[in-house]
Amino acid sequence: MPVSGRTITLELRQEIEDFLYLEAELLDRCAFEQWLQLFTEDASYRMPVRTTHERRLQDREFDESFGHFDETREMLGMRVRRLSSRTAWAEDPPSRTRHFVTNLRIRATTKSDEILATTNLLVYRNRGDSPQHDLLSAERHDLLRRTESGWKISERRIYLDQATLGTLNLSIFL
């Protein structure tokens, strides 16, 4: 993604932060229909599968062409539709999640209406009456687009800090 040297104003930074916090809140409230509205029609949502490599082959860790998620907006919509179907057993009772979004880095792109937002993400997940929890840590690369109805996610790449997943499935979103 071409990056430009345009200055990121404090005001813009505040807008992006608010947007990402709202997004995290919608996920934690299981407001998936509303969450889906935050994606552009042409959005992609991907989580490349990670495989452990030696240090000299670190650039091969993520398989960019093969993901745990590799979604169009339509596919995300199918997942959201499933969650509201009353027979999505894996999420009934629903996971309790808390998305912590930090270390925001913003870079301008060559398009005036798009910016790149990189964040660190920590997701806490708990289910049922078990006191155990799963933690998923990741770096997210979001391409955000300013539209008439506010900021939207046009691309999301999720880079997990794990090769073997430390959670029972990915019936949640990151």
């Binding site: 495989t51 199918m78 027979t87 499935n169």
Partner: protein, 431 residues
């Protein structure tokens, strides 16, 4: 344990399995030695290590093996442990190298496991105490490749792989031999850990057509399961062999070719044998779900990923790697036809990723059910609860003119395959 096995055997006579088998640590110790140390275990597809120097790390339970492609182009399956102090040489899951060097004392091994260098060898070791030919990496006791599928067996006296696979080959070839060049792994295997027993997964894939209409109903709503209802396996066919079970859907517009396009179905007709092709005249789909004892399962099915595109077929191999009683690491591979177009491979991959794998909309609900069963199985009282395994008995008769091997039953809402799985499991534990 003998008493326990006798009790299980008595139950099986009545077509019952006690719930406790899914969370019994003593039983697990038995499974380790009597099943996983003596049966053929699937490790890898050859397409995962196409080039010289390519290697991957694979497991049979807790034993780690390096699967490598050496300079001669041969596949090696080597115990991942240095012969000096046992250090696991390969810490990566995958890579490419010229040799494996131990970081502890610097012993070096070739891609074929041969010992290539021992620092200060001549000064420190008498010639006959460290012969290089005797101290290479130890290969798995038995390694065989069939249709690009690499298997290993920890028992030197095991039957040959082809003998072990037996008539299951007739059905597995539908997955592997559709086209001239066959399958290749797309991407890498996904790995994740679930608190569910491996046998639940094997039991599900071997013959459980019955669960689809309820477990997966949300995926019909979502569109990832592109069927009008979840009963497509009900009036299909279930085939039972001693160590293999496979299910076919009833043929209809979708479950005829499993969404393989005419161009590939044409190749299927060229590549399969006459008796295999006769299966397709029986009013059933291509084979969908199956399990090869003990823990290798297959699924070939249509998946929907876009309203504007036709459903695409996905093919997944999966190994249910036991980690403990009631704890399993799932390994899930997506495979595509090697000589198909990139566009078609992409479509198959998309259909796979929304259906199976860690985020798969069908996979999620399967594992949820298996975890809930495993949790229920941990009780002192619940462990003895008999589960009903009598479906189809005295209701369904073997089909008379089925063109393939094994006993074929005219419904896949049936349990002949599960009963065979459990009989095999018990026989191995008692062997």
């Amino acid at each position: 344990m003998k008493l326990e096995l006798n009790r299980i055997a008595e139950g099986l006579e009545r077509n019952e399995i006690p719930l406790g088998v899914f969370a019994n640590p003593e039983l697990y110790e038995f499974e380790k030695r009597r099943i996983f140390a003596r049966n053929w275990c699937y490790l890898s597809h050859e397409s995962e290590i196409p080039k010289t120097g390519d290697f991957i790390q694979r497991y049979i339970l807790d034993d780690s093996f390096i699967v490598s492609r050496d300079e001669a182009g041969d596949v090696n399956v080597l115990l991942n442990a240095c012969r000096y102090r046992g250090l696991g040489l390969c810490k990566a899951e995958k890579g490419n190298t010229r040799n494996f060097k131990c970081p502890y004392h610097g012993w070096v091994y070739g891609l074929d496991g041969s010992l290539r260098d021992v620092p200060y060898k001549d000064e420190l070791f008498a010639t006959d105490s460290l012969r290089e030919t005797e101290w290479g990496l130890v290969p798995a006791p038995r390694v065989e490749i069939w249709n690009s599928m690499i298997f290993a067996n920890l028992d030197h006296n095991a039957p040959r792989l082809e003998t072990y696979l037996g008539d299951a080959r007739f059905y597995i070839e539908f997955y592997t031999n559709k086209t001239e060049e066959g399958l290749e792994v797309y991407g890498v295997p996904q790995r994740w850990v679930v608190d569910a027993d491996w046998k639940l997964a094997a039991d599900n894939f071997v013959g459980d057509g019955y669960h689809t209409f309820i477990t997966h109903s949300s995926t019909i709503t979502a569109g990832s399961l592109p069927a009008p209802g979840g009963e497509f396996l009900k009036d299909g066919v279930q085939v039972v062999l001693e160590n293999f079970g496979v299910g076919f859907a009833r043929q209809d517009s979708l479950f005829n070719s499993l969404a393989y396009p005419p161009s590939i179905m044409q190749q299927v007709r060229q590549n399969l044998s006459t008796s295999q092709l006769q299966i397709l005249d029986q009013g059933v789909s291509l084979p969908t779900h199956s399990t090869l004892f003990p823990n290798l399962s297959f699924l070939n099915a249509p998946g929907g990923y876009a309203a504007s595109a036709p459903p695409a077929p996905y093919m997944t191999f999966r190994v249910w790697r036991p980690l403990a009683a009631g704890k399993t690491e799932i390994w899930s591979w997506c495979l595509v036809e090697k000589n198909s177009t990139e566009e078609f491979k992409q479509a198959c991959y998309r259909a796979y990723v929304i259906s199976f794998g860690a985020s798969g909309t069908l996979e999620q609900d399967d594992a949820e059910n298996w975890m809930t069963i495993t949790k229920a199985a941990r009780g002192n009282f619940s462990a003895t609860l008999p589960l009903n395994y009598s479906m189809g008995l005295r209701k369904q008769k073997p089909m008379k003119n089925w063109p393939g091997p094994g006993d074929a039953y005219p419904m896949d809402f049936s349990e002949f395959a599960q009963r065979a799985f459990w009989r095999k499991w018990l026989a191995e534990l008692q062997r």
